[in-house]
């Protein structure tokens, strides 16, 4: 491919821009790219570069469903666009690409379940459930290490919280 600007040297810098789902491609040689303010040729190797590599390594099932590229129903970003830029277009991309993203998340993140901070508007029951999940994991660890005394204590705590959750649920329905 030849540089779009000088039409002489081979294009080695390829820029893909998405504005409202519309794609524009720019192909330039190193020198012409340097003269443009919107391209940073000297950007160090970023985690996004690495991500695109990883995306290509994941299951070959990724793109094709009956020959069609998968598309986010909300923002219109396709999975192959995501593969190129390494960024998702909106929160619903996580839903529409969930099958493709799962193996990637496992590979780059290790875990697939968030255990940290919860927005306060998620409500009390959600937080309670998270607390119960945490205690259950601790209980499993205690049983595995044969720390039975601790396990018994954890079991009682879990029962108490589950009881509380049930009460809140019922309260919620009658209200």
């Amino acid at each position: 491919m030849i540089c779009q600007q000088c039409k002489e040297k081979p294009a080695t810098v390829h820029l893909t821009k998405f504005v409202n789902g519309k794609k524009t491609e720019i192909h330039l040689c190193q020198e012409c790219a340097r003269q443009r303010s919107d391209i940073n040729v000297f950007a160090p190797f970023t985690i996004n570069d690495l991500l695109s590599e990883l995306l290509d390594m994941t299951a070959p099932s990724t793109v094709v469903h009956g020959g069609e590229d998968i598309k986010c129903r909300t923002c219109g970003m396709t999975y192959s666009q995501f593969k190129q830029v390494g960024r998702l277009g909106c929160e619903n991309c996580y839903r529409d690409f969930s099958r493709e993203l799962e193996p990637i998340l496992k590979r780059i993140q290790g875990g697939t379940k968030h255990t940290g901070k919860v927005p306060s508007r998620m409500g009390f029951n959600y937080k309670l459930q998270r607390e119960i999940d945490k205690l259950k994991a601790e209980l499993q660890r205690a049983v595995n290490t044969e720390a039975f005394e601790e396990a018994a204590k954890l079991r009682d705590e879990i029962r108490e919280l589950e009881e509380e959750l049930r009460r809140k649920d019922e309260g919620g329905h009658s209200a």
């Binding site: 998405f18 504005v19 409202n20 789902g21 303010s37 919107d38 940073n40 950007a43 160090p44 985690i47 996004n48 991500l51 909300t74 923002c75 970003m77 830029v85 390494g86 960024r87 998702l88 277009g89 909106c90 929160e91 996580y94 993203l101 990637i104 998340l105 780059i108 993140q109 290790g110 875990g111 697939t112 379940k113 968030h114 255990t115 940290g116 901070k117 919860v118 927005p119 306060s120 508007r121 998620m122 959600y126």
Partner: protein, 340 residues
């Protein structure tokens, strides 16, 4: 700015600590596909959300859209490590909300709608998390975030999903570089979910022997676990760096001190300094100061010089002193000579 002017714990090895939290607003496209109008409305929305809260912070915060700054001013923000270069590349879409001490800098419409950052001097990663956690709570009073029950906070890049948190420390590790231990350490920490990179340049070639160490994994561990994990590693690396400094000093005695003082002499009196030489000399002097060999220069002086000796800052200096067009290496020598 306070991460430079405050002293901070373990400042001899840990220059600064930073915590960043990525958040997006529910129902809006991520910045990468936003048009300019929506981007600017989003910035206003975020700013109003924080200004309409009851937080005491409100009086200390200022909103700056990037298009209102000239390119030199934008680059100065990058050199002060307050914003990313990605933020200033899309100046028509982006902005910051920053406090008067430059401890809290919220990037707007970078990769995500909101990126809270807190930067403190020395090793204060836990303190930085506490501050940013509270700012996040304040913002949340008036903004609904994109959040998924199992995936946590949703981010434009899946490498940030979950906590959306990146905790990092900037460390000065000259002895570990001289001793040839650095690459081994960098490889080891990559095996436990952390990453390290040279702040200016890569690996053992890192200019000024400055490394940034941060968590790689954002989904799975809690924020506190991420902080604790990083703390353990930072303390061990700092310990090893200090032991190696002492060993190198003992082994080389007067040669070591001579080297440090010569570096100070050149920094002070040179008439031309290129960036590579400048960072190398500054690293030597910083080493000398932190070991008590040089007494009349402070660590905060040096870290300030490091920022002011970068090119956008020099450009701004040249502008103010009618020296535009002068070789930046000459301007750098002049600035450094005045400050040290």
């Amino acid at each position: 700015m306070s991460w430079i002017t405050d002293s901070g714990p373990m400042r001899d090895v840990v220059m600064s600590s930073r915590v960043r939290l990525a958040r997006n607003i529910a129902g809006l496209p991520f910045p990468i596909i936003m048009d300019k109008e929506t981007a600017r409305e989003t910035m206003k929305k975020v700013y109003n959300a924080i200004m309409n809260s009851n937080s005491a912070l409100v009086n200390r915060l200022k909103f700056i859209p990037m298009y209102k700054l000239d390119p030199v001013e934008r680059n100065i923000l990058v050199e002060k490590h307050l914003v990313s270069s990605e933020l200033i590349q899309r100046a028509d879409y982006t902005g910051i909300i920053i406090d008067d001490k430059e401890e809290i800098c919220i990037m707007l419409n970078e990769e995500d709608h909101i990126r809270f950052q807190c930067i403190l001097a020395g090793n204060q990663i836990e303190e930085a998390w506490d501050i940013i956690d509270k700012v996040d709570d304040v913002m949340e009073e008036n903004i609904e975030y994109s959040y998924h029950e199992t995936l946590g906070y949703l981010t434009s890049c899946p490498t940030n999903v979950g906590t959306g948190m990146r905790a990092s420390v900037m460390m000065h590790l000259p002895a570990l570089v001289y001793g040839g231990h650095i690459n081994g350490i960098l490889q080891t920490i990559s095996k436990i979910g952390l990453t390290a990179r040279g702040l200016y340049g890569e690996g053992s070639e890192a200019l000024g022997h400055i490394f940034q160490i941060s968590n790689q994994v954002t989904l799975g561990p809690t924020e506190k676990e991420i902080v604790a994990n990083l703390q353990i590693v930072v303390k061990q690396i700092a310990e090893k760096e200090k032991l190696t400094r002492k060993a190198v000093h003992e082994a080389n005695g007067i040669e070591f001190e001579d080297n440090v003082y010569r570096s100070l002499g050149i920094l002070k009196y040179a008439k031309k300094l290129n960036i590579k030489e400048f960072m190398a000399l500054l690293s030597q002097v910083r080493l000398g100061v932190s070991m008590g060999i040089i007494e009349d220069v402070s660590l905060t002086d040096i870290d300030r010089v490091m920022i002011l000796g970068q090119s956008a800052n020099l450009h701004s200096y040249a502008e103010k002193h009618n020296k535009l067009g002068t070789d930046l290496d000459i301007v750098r020598a002049e600035v450094v000579g005045r400050l040290i």
